[in-house]
Subunit: 316 residues, 2 copies
């Protein structure tokens, strides 16, 4: 069992808040703003080539000298090369998605990289801990983008019980209430995705941001369950079309044809009707565009205030 | 705006813990044990006839004189008669499921009944508040049985923001951690279902209880999404068969034929393979059979302990 380290100490950050690695959304603009604001910014490598990732790292370092990380999607065809890039660039923190990063663990640990896999089950959490992970992000099914089945409320305590490394809670956390709740479930930090889509510094087309801000509590939908890789997005024309096709026994090829390029369409082109507006259920809690640093302070101060407001109820 | 009332004062109970109204499971044995233990026990009327409900009320009152309630499923063919029964029997609290109880509100209020609808969206929460509800149970999608789409982590704060009556959080809460987290999300009480399935007093066949105790974090499954009335249960032979049929474009009739009588089969006959083992994701947190009163104390003391354990982190 590893010695317990507070997540801020482990990552060298001020606030225990990590920005989610969101494909297309989490580029150096957002990651730098989050890291400069005292959280942990992550560049999402997604399916981008290694050179793009290197360029992003350089661009981020022109803005801030604070710790940051790269989120590497293990199913990317460029994963091997990107691992080489993060090691040669001495990126302090690597988060991984879509699997177990064990085959890269030796090279990352040798380079002194802190490794934080994102997991959706306590089984995978135990596996990555054995492989040498420094912490895990336990991401509940209310999150946006690719999701698992277990919700934050259930996943976090079960992962906390299963491993002895620190657990960062993700999925559904957008304000001080959710963050405070996550800590009481046993998390040592929180990862926030959806609320950072509307950060001023996020390089996201305005119509996408506007839809996130307008969303209520029942405005997301999950598509692609039949493919084994479900994705959560805001309801729009594209998602309604996909859902209706899914009911008619859609093939994997038809699904992929309809989805291809739609995230870029949303983030870059601002097509809110036929783009994939990936978003968590917490969109309903997101009410305005703000600088990333302000979002971080609001969550950090909010969670303290929420905690303290219950002292009379739970105190002696 | 109503004056704020703590949920224990409103309901006349010791601990802010409500037992979920689970069809077949929540009969007078369980409800009486929960009420006698200081929580709020609920008899689930489900689709049972009014005379059965009256008998249950009488049987409960032979065991305890503590406040209790009846959960009335509004889609039941016997809903009208059951409403008459709870009024004539002066049942102090009525919880309602599957809709808006507005058409019964006048008769219930006249009888002095406290009315607590279960809701899965802030839209319905606002509607039942306008109709005169005294509180709402906001039930997240991690719950067992019939479920909505929004998780507890997101539903609770959004319902809290939408209404001024007290909100009781449900879905995924099985221990002090979940209960404490729910309070930080803004809830004034919690409803617990799954953990009470394994209460000693619950009249549930042992194989069903054993499966709940054995379940891990990824052992529930949702069937019937295509019907518009999704249901969460533990994975077993029946659910695997239904899921595989659903992929082959199952009809509503075929689905209903496979499901009919399966909850009774699980609860009464103890058929863990071909019965509906309705259960929330929190089954993964349930580890043993205990008397209901012990479960209540464990959650109530657990939430205080969890809260206090974070004082050094969040305190001044």
């Amino acid at each position: 069992m590893k010695e317990y380290k507070d997540i801020t100490e482990l990552l060298g950050i001020c606030y225990p808040i990590v920005q989610g690695g969101m494909a297309w959304v989490s580029d150096f603009h957002l990651a730098a703003a989050v890291s400069a604001g005292g959280g942990l910014g992550l560049i999402a490598a997604a399916s981008a080539p290694a050179d793009w990732v290197r360029g992003q790292i350089h661009a981020l370092r022109k803005i801030t000298d604070k710790p940051f990380g790269v989120n590497i999607m293990l199913m990317s065809p460029f994963a091997d090369e990107i691992m080489q890039v993060v090691v040669s660039e001495k990126v302090p923190i690597v988060a991984t998605g879509a699997g177990n990063p064990s085959k890269y663990m030796d090279m990352l640990k040798e380079a002194g990289t802190i490794v934080i896999p994102v997991v959706a089950s306590s089984t995978l959490a135990k596996r990555v801990e054995r492989a040498g992970a420094d912490a895990v992000v336990a991401e509940g099914s209310e999150a946006g983008g690719h999701i698992g089945e277990t919700t934050t409320m259930n996943l976090v305590p079960q992962v906390v019980d299963a491993v002895s490394i620190p657990v960062i809670a993700a999925g559904g956390i957008a304000d001080g209430r959710g963050a405070a709740a996550a800590f009481l479930l046993g998390a040592k930090g929180v990862q926030v995705g959806t609320r950072f889509i509307v950060a001023k510094e996020a390089n996201v087309a305005q119509p996408y941001k506007d839809r996130v801000i307008a969303a209520g509590d029942n405005d997301t939908v999950v598509t692609g369950r039949f493919t084994g890789h479900p994705v959560r997005s805001l309801k729009n024309k594209l998602m309604r079309e996909i859902l209706s096709q899914e009911k008619k026994d859609m093939s994997l090829e038809e699904f992929e044809t309809l989805m291809i390029g739609t995230l870029r369409k949303a983030v870059v082109e601002g097509d809110a009707d036929y783009g994939s507006l990936m978003s968590g259920q917490s969109a309903g809690l997101v009410t305005k565009e703000q600088p990333a640093a302000e979002i971080i302070r609001d969550i950090a101060e909010g969670m303290k205030a929420v905690y303290r407001s219950k002292a009379a109820y739970f105190g002696d």
